[in-house]
């Protein structure tokens, strides 16, 4: 039997509330399957498994609080019998949720994200087959709440609305960001480096590349930046790491990409294995992940796996970003806007599109020379875009 525990959802989250089991005992599962939905400060997170086998027992009840690390379920590994090694329960709840586990629910197909409603309200409406666009909201600015949906569902009544925590809001996301950034500022001795990069070749390369693409497949400059960061990390792996009782280098490069929410706050989903993705793959990842981040519908691995963070504030018109590292990572790369600037080279003065790239790094983990190597590698890749 494999013990399945609530995964970490990033440094700023200690627990969530189980809102749904997507599996029931006896269901076969494979790596990457979503088995549960947990509501957190950052929306409803889809909890993935990383084992193969069959669901044995579900140990947490719907609406129960689930701390990170809590035993959630037993999984029977393929080829083993559930009987001989009945594990000892310590203080976790024993009861299974027989009566309330539900069948797998298909992914939402109707574009309900255009409706002002909490993620939870949308999910419940989908489950119960209620047209959320027809509801009148009682929440802030007329937003539709879980209660509104439940009232509309004609007294199925066994849901415990008063026990429910309110769905993720701008305020709860603010608190999550505050917790992570306070921890960072308290514990991480940051150092900062910056460099200016002539982007004329990269932008020229991108214009040519986009001429051969349909509108849907066009690349944004940010994918060049992401790929260059990933490739520079391959050459300077000490920055692709976590600081947990010392430096722990990570073999795969998962870039946490900062997505600003229009209602305030940020969400930082991971773009998995960025070094092995092509520019087109990275663009596809962004197209998938940005709308889900804004809708607060991410998967557990996307919130927990990042090995470095990239923030791109160029569009806001700033030149230089002095970032705050997201613990337990040890580095954050910031990009300002690409702006025309005077540029001296080989004794000549010219005007070039210039990007300022900054590195905020953890001085416990690395020193300025490592940071310099990284920024130099980053610059080289962006000046030779055909290598990306």
């Amino acid at each position: 039997m494999i013990e399945f525990r609530m995964p970490s959802l990033g440094a700023d989250m200690e627990s969530g509330f189980l809102r749904e089991w997507r599996v029931k005992p006896g269901d076969p599962i494979k790596r990457g399957d979503i088995i549960a939905e947990v509501e957190t400060q950052k929306g409803i997170i889809e909890i993935e498994v990383f084992d193969e086998g069959t669901i044995g027992e579900l140990l947490i009840k719907i609406d129960e609080k689930v701390p990170v690390g809590a035993l959630m379920a037993y999984i029977i590994a393929n080829g083993t019998s559930p009987e001989p090694s009945k594990p000892k329960l310590i203080d976790e709840k024993k009861e299974t949720e027989q009566g309330r586990t539900r069948d797998r629910i298909p992914a939402p197909r109707i574009p309900i994200h255009t409706v002002k409603a909490s993620p939870l309200a949308k999910r419940i409406a989908l489950e119960k087959g209620i047209d959320i666009t027809k509801l009148k909201g009682s929440g802030p600015n007329g937003a539709i709440t879980r209660q509104d949906v439940e009232k509309a569902s004609t007294g199925e009544g066994e849901m415990t609305a008063e026990k429910a925590k309110p769905a993720a809001s701008a305020a709860s996301i603010r608190l999550a960001v505050a917790a992570a950034m306070s921890k960072s500022n308290r514990e991480i001795p940051h150092y900062y480096l910056s460099t200016k990069i002539d982007m004329s070749r990269a932008l020229g390369w991108l214009t040519d590349a986009n001429k051969q693409r349909s509108v849907k497949d066009r690349l944004l400059p940010v994918v060049l930046l992401l790929k260059a960061v990933a490739k520079a990390l391959v050459t300077v792996p000490d920055l692709n790491a976590w600081w947990q009782d010392g430096l722990q280098r990570k073999t795969e490069i998962h870039i946490g990409f900062v997505v600003a929410l229009r209602t305030g706050g940020i969400i930082v989903p991971a773009i998995h294995d960025a070094a092995n993705k092509t520019l087109d793959d990275l663009m596809k990842s962004l197209t998938d992940i940005i709308p889900r981040a804004r809708a607060l519908r991410l998967r557990s691995s996307e919130l927990a796996d990042s090995t470095i963070t990239v923030t791109n504030l160029g569009e806001e018109g700033v030149e230089t970003v002095f970032g705050v590292i997201y613990p337990p990572q040890v580095a954050l790369v910031g990009f300002g806007g690409i702006q025309e600037q005077p540029w001296a080279e080989k004794g000549m003065l010219d005007v070039r599109p210039v990007l300022t790239a900054t590195l905020a790094a953890d001085h416990r983990a690395t020193d300025g020379s490592t940071g310099t190597q990284f920024l130099t590698a980053l610059k080289n890749f962006l000046q030779n875009p055909e290598q990306l």
Partner: protein, 82 residues
């Protein structure tokens, strides 16, 4: 399609991409991206949506010419006739 109809479709597209904004309130001269706070990613989705809805092709070099409704609506109208 009349200019009024094009505008209605554009508003619908903007609503879909940025549900928490109010494109109905845009004045003809307003810079759409600046006023609604739309980033380059969302703007690309908007252009993709325009191309699909109006069956037009918008080359990248034209992005800068279609910043407001005043520019965008005639742009779409002319392209649809081509």
């Amino acid at each position: 399609m009349t200019e009024e109809e094009i505008k209605r479709v554009l508003i619908k597209l903007l609503k879909r991409i940025a549900p928490d904004t109010e494109p109905e309130g845009l004045k003809p001269e307003d810079n759409i991206r600046q006023v609604l706070g739309i980033d380059s990613f969302d703007y690309l989705q908007f252009i993709v949506g325009c191309d699909e809805e109006f069956h037009i092709q918008t080359p990248e070099e034209d992005y800068g010419k279609i910043a407001s409704f005043k520019e965008l609506i005639p742009y779409v109208s002319i392209r649809m006739k081509k």
